[in-house]
């Protein structure tokens, strides 16, 4: 039978991947449009989109992978707290990654801005 710690880890893993995927899906279309206009090199757009996705998934997984370790006599709510605490760390990391990427894209816009406001 699967241990409670493993089930909590699994919940954590699924939720973290879902968060990273959701953030990527919400940001990617507008990011692609913006990059297409600014970079004007399809590989450049692909590079930044892939980098964005990779960073989001890695920052989410790096927190989750450390796992949850509670004693076998822990109550159900303690597992919920543990999952919540890990998810909070994941959200913090995703937030920082998102912020860092917005900074990078802003620098891209400033440096490579198209002429005549195109």
């Amino acid at each position: 039978m699967l241990s409670h710690n493993f089930l909590a880890f699994l919940c954590d893993l699924i939720l973290s991947i879902a968060i990273a995927f959701l953030v990527y899906r919400l940001i990617a279309p507008s990011l692609r449009e913006l990059l297409d206009k600014i970079v004007r090199l399809p590989e450049g757009t692909t590079f930044y989109l892939r980098a964005f996705g990779l960073v989001l998934f890695c920052v989410a997984l790096s927190k989750v992978i450390t796992g949850i370790r509670l004693k076998s006599d822990a109550h159900a709510i303690e597992y919920v707290w543990a999952v919540g605490s890990q998810l909070s760390d994941v959200l913090d990391n995703v937030f920082v990654a998102l912020l860092a990427f917005v900074v990078v894209v802003t620098v891209l816009v400033v440096i490579l801005r198209p002429k005549n406001g195109q």
Binding site: A51, L54, A97, I111
Partner: protein, 135 residues
Amino acid sequence: MDNKTYLYVSYFVVCGVCLCLGLLAWLWMRRPLAGIARALPQRKWESLLKRAFPLSTVLFVLSACLSVNYYGGCNPMSYDKIVEDRDYIISKNQEQISQSLNAIVWSVSLWAGIVLVSLLAIQRGKSKRNSGEGS
């Protein structure tokens, strides 16, 4: 499997997993980076970028994986205590993978900056060529 064997096997397996993570990150980013490198005005710069990217990513990931200290930081543990505690060994394995994922993040972020400079060079090269053709 006794704890001592587990310690040896898990250490090398996790190092292999971390190496694979670095290679996967390189494979995922390889094509777009090669496309950007091809558009660069200098051929030598192109080959430098193509070779430096996998090397830097894989080496950085490996370095992060190997940097995990099994003896512990603030509360040092003796070798005997490490071998006794299977949970501690598992937690260190997980820490190695976590550090490797963080290394991928840092490496890709750094390369995003390098690509930014490269794109600027490509754009300047194009505008120079266009102005040369115009005059």
